[in-house]
Amino acid sequence: MAKVLEGPGMGLMKKWGIATPNYVVVTSVEQFDQLAKANDWTQKGKLVAKAHEAMGSRFKLGLVKVGLDLAGAKVAVKEMLGRQVGSITVTQVIVSEMVPHKDEYYAAVKSTREGIDVLVANCGGIEVESNWDRVKRLAVDVGETPSVEALEKLAKEAGFTGPLAKKVADFTGKLFACFDNEDAQYLEVNPVVAREGDGELVALDAVTLLDADAKFRHPDWNFQFAAEFGRAYTKHETEVMAVDSKIKGSVKFIEIPGGDTAMLPAGGGASVYYSDAVVARGGKLANYAEYSGDPPDWAVEVLTDKVCSLPGIRNIIVGGAIANFTDVKKTFGGIIAGFRKAKSEGKLKGVKIWVRRGGPREKEGLDAMRALRDEGFDIHVFDRHTPLTDIVDKALQQK
């Protein structure tokens, strides 16, 4: 699942005929000046400026400003650009027009095992969150497209009447088309508003989640995916993602500030059991990591380098189940090279390393790990006869 920021998200909706407020995404004040001149809507109505970054609580941080005139928007852009929030620097600001409206509605499309659900409510904004029973659902089977009649029936069930019901049906039809054609996993428009004057339905704010695995058939996805956990990706996370996108197999890395137990396990399944074990034993995770699918040794070395660079760690868990086809000797070769590099850079002081693994060439791999003892590493190596997560117990008992 991959989150898309507001700008590109609105771009996709526009592509499928959904009305959105006019907007510009800018990276400098000069760029804003130029775009303001070229887009006369910036000079006519009220404007909204928001930090265009994957971060939560933008309102609280003063990174959303509403009801601005052009001069006010320029001040907001200037203030926001370059603002440092935690590890994130604001590098983009989205300025959009305020759409005058009275009523707010809700529309969403989401993936289910059976197909696709279309959701509609005739209330929106915060109101819908406290009135979830007012959201009406139309389940569309895999491979089917909902008829205009079905969508209109859904709108009527949700309490829309007359011409508005037709408009809602038209809007949700476009939203469905966008969802289905763009390999989306979740599209939520909240609020949908009826613009004063022409009464056209406009998508004011949207959440767009796309299926990153479908990127191969969307050459026009020229945007970066954003992190889904309310902060931007860190430098190290981005570097590991760049490696991941290049290789056969995969390497994954997410930092969790404040932890003391670093994770370097193999396998998308086993890695979570290792994380569970750390939490269950009262440890604090410093990161999530995982490598699988027989990745090249250099990719595992990059991952190891990032894990060793985590601040304040006391243990590294090099866990793993019995691999099907990941070559243990080769992948451990990458980890060993990473450990050596980290040590030569003065890292890993006082850090204990715990290893458990099985799979092709397990003996050679484990022997090579064991040999690190002779180089002064505080390393403890176990084979398939030690149950999967016992190394976590051993590591955390040491405290």
Binding site: R113, V142, G143, G230, G268, A270, D276, F325, P387
Partner: protein, 608 residues
Amino acid sequence: MSILANKDTRVVIQGGAAGLNAARRMAEFCYMIKRPLNVEAFVYPPDAGKTNEVPYGSGLLTIPVYKSVAEATASHPQINTSLVYIGADRACAAGLEALNDAKIQVASMITEGVPEKDAKILARHAIKLGKTFNGPSSIGVISAGACRLGVIGGAFDNLVACKLYREGSFGVITKSGGLSNEIIWICSQFADGITTAIGIGGDAYPGTDYVSYLEMFEKDPQTKAVVIVGEMGGDLEERAAEWYGAKKRRIKLLAVVSGFCQESLPKGMKFGHAGAKEGMKGEGSARAKSDAFKKAGAIVPDTFGALGPAIKSVYEEWVKSGQVRPIPELSQADLPRLPKTVEESMKAGEVMVAPLIKTTISDDRGDEPCYDGYPASELINKGYEIPHVIGLLWDKRLISKQEAEIIKRIMMLSADHGPCVSGALGTIIAACAGIGMSQSVAAGLIMIGPRFGGAVTDAGRYFKHAVDNKMTVDDFLAYMKKNVGPVPGIGHRVKSVRNPDKRVKELVGYVKSLSIKTPHLDFALGVEKVTSAKKDNLILNVDGTMAAVLVDIGFPVDSLNGFFILSRTIGLIGHWVDQKRQESRLIRLFDYLVNYAAPKRREVPPLK
């Protein structure tokens, strides 16, 4: 018994190199259980019409590659199962192609990163046709003693360690590929092993869920318990729990679910497989799933580590009640084993192999080539140059700086001699005919022989013979006249005493300026004095000079032509590149350059 994959499973693999690799794994399993290979065919359009080689035991099986599943099943009517291991962008089409074939009942997909939309289409299509679609991202299905479909089970040693050559009593269903192997191992160590283990894949919408397989296991009398390794996200575990709790089931259910760590992670942060995502209101959490399993009466150990002991206690109860009889273990000697490769056998000291060739000059089995034992990089770093490498590879010795300088000069002097000489002309004609570099250069090199550039070795040989036998110049010339003919290294087509070869003068002058002994060069010059007095152009030519000098600095006679071949190759490559750069066109001789001495045109007599 087993489910899904059994002794009657006959497979077509849709995929290229990855598919072939899966076939190799499957062949190892078939060999272990002493059954013929269950892979009948491959489908991979780029290789259609070719065959793939799959090692089986100590031999190689040849398996055909087809353009389509229909062609494969038409030629191999026993095929009933497809294994899809093709790029994510082609996976959906391949899966549909398999399902649409009347012969295919089961399709399992190893491919990872398949778009969710495609996975849902495949799942729905299989249900519509009443077939089983397993995956995507499935490591495969393995039925002990019967069938391996996919790469599940790992390396051969692991198959044996997990006793997969014979049936146990536990069914296994996991989302994770790596953990399927772990559970198979646990079942073999804490109990009597597995019947069938299935990886359903860690994606959000696997083609077949736990419930479908639980129902199959429920009907398989050999399977007495099923182990589910679940993950947070979605509702498949809840559905499995619901199925188990709905009525009294014959099989016992053991389950663990991962994702408890989520409770103490920053909001929205998710780990693991694509399908491991919590619902917006906490549905699909590890705790909710775990609780559902417990409520349904399944055995739910607290941690993954506690799974082994839980399996053990279930198994021991059966043994006590007589429900299951322990399977006698095979002795070490009776365990299946793969034939060793020659390398492995040699390493183990079990065989002796007579080498086919022997080398005494170089070895690149390490991280870099060694020339006569010296690593190339060390030679570079210590200031050695190309002539020293020639010395090491041609004469197995580190030559001196002075000797290297002589070789360098010899090579510079003979690198090229214009386009008209036989070698260059051969290369140029070939280049103009559009022939590639190595063949064109070879066309030039072919010219090197007794009349062109190839007299160095012979010249060296006879000068050395003379010096070794302390012959006088007159004795030598008499000997040559009687036994050989013209003296190699003496005589030139155009150069003469009055029009000396500057290359010879240059080389002789340089070598004479050094304080080294040059008995062969001195002898050759003595010969020249006599022969050139007889005839103006019987001078010591460049071949003869090179030969004498190289013998003087100790190079073996047999290596001498190599100096000319090597240095002239520089020129020949130059000529080829030069013609290429000019985009030269095909050339042919003009008629006026040919003396047509063949008989005049005449009538062909009737055939007798």
